[in-house]
Symmetry: C2
Subunit: 202 residues, 2 copies
């Protein structure tokens, strides 16, 4: 089979997820760096791969593209221990992945984008203030879960953990201090001890 090609931006947590899972699986891949801050997702060539104009995109074969970071994780994890086959465990993994995209990413990743990627705290001050309580609420939901469980679903590291790890391990770059979330910090340490693990590039 041809090698996977990932169209993504190294500094994006959504893209990092995909690279991290491929690393944990020991699967080789080619990375095509795609800078969203410079309009690289708005070109006709990019929109032909993903009409929604977002990274990451997984190129599976000639003309075969898959978008949405968490759908890509699902595709890559199928048949591996990172995606349980049991019906309820499988749905529980997806529950946390939808939580990540709806209740976590829009507040924590977005704050990080304004502060760390665009470096415009003043311009986005009102937005940052709006995002703050909602990002803290998401971390609170994670903390309560992880106080009683090592992983998010199925009793082991799954793609739910990979998805939630992405923007949590760089939450401080979005102004979210993890000091008051000790169970979250211990979970990040467990994850970073897995063979093949690497954090996001600085």
């Amino acid at each position: 089979m041809a090698m996977y090609r990932v169209h993504g931006m190294r500094a994006s947590g959504n893209c990092h997820k995909v690279g991290l899972l491929l690393d944990l699986l020991g699967e080789p891949y080619e990375w095509v760096e795609t800078d969203v801050t410079k309009g690289a997702t708005r070109t006709p060539a990019f929109l032909a791969m993903n009409p929604n104009g977002k990274v990451p995109v997984l190129e599976i074969g000639p003309g075969q593209y898959l978008a949405e970071s968490n759908a890509i994780l699902h595709y890559l994890a199928e048949g591996t221990p990172f995606l349980p086959a049991d019906r309820l465990d499988h749905a529980r993994v997806l529950q946390w992945m939808f939580f990540e995209q709806y209740s976590h990413e829009p507040y924590i990743a977005t704050s990080r984008y304004w502060l760390h990627i665009l470096k415009e705290p003043e311009k986005y001050r009102a937005r940052l203030e709006e995002c703050r309580p909602r990002g803290l609420a998401a971390l609170g939901v994670m903390e309560r879960h992880l106080a009683a469980a090592d992983w998010f679903a199925a009793g082991r590291c799954t793609i739910a953990d990979i998805a939630l790890h992405a923007y949590t391990h760089v939450a401080h770059e979005g102004g979210f201090d993890l000091a008051s979330f000790p169970a979250v910090r211990r979970w990040l340490e467990r994850l970073s001890a897995l063979p093949g693990y690497r954090p996001m590039a600085a």
Copy 2:
């Protein structure tokens, strides 16, 4: 097996999805009406079911709860024609479901919530203006896809269609006119012709 119990609000598209799939599957269920505008998702009893405090919640058995509308659809559809078993088709269904929760719902459902549920157009005017281009962009992505395909994935109606139908068939209640999206309108008609179909309660 005991009957499923759905904790949801009739006027919510995310909750309607779950009822609609159960209707299409001919599966009986009990509905527990849960009014989010009156704090019903903030009680200790509700938070014990879903620590994220959101409807819908599927009660599968005693003490067994599943949250996130699209994870619930996945659980209910497994083993039925609404969820393809093929690896890429499965991921493609999820691609559109993550698109729905990240690029469609936060703009179209949110606008509808302010206009149709809370009935406060003036209070949310600035937010409505921000959501408008993004909601139209999501409808544009759907229109381009549906101009060349009857359904979102796997060549048949899947839970990707059920998920995207929820807030699209009431988009006008959020101020989004579907007149310029003819392929979307034809897709809504195809879906409403399925046996067991019902629209959201007025």
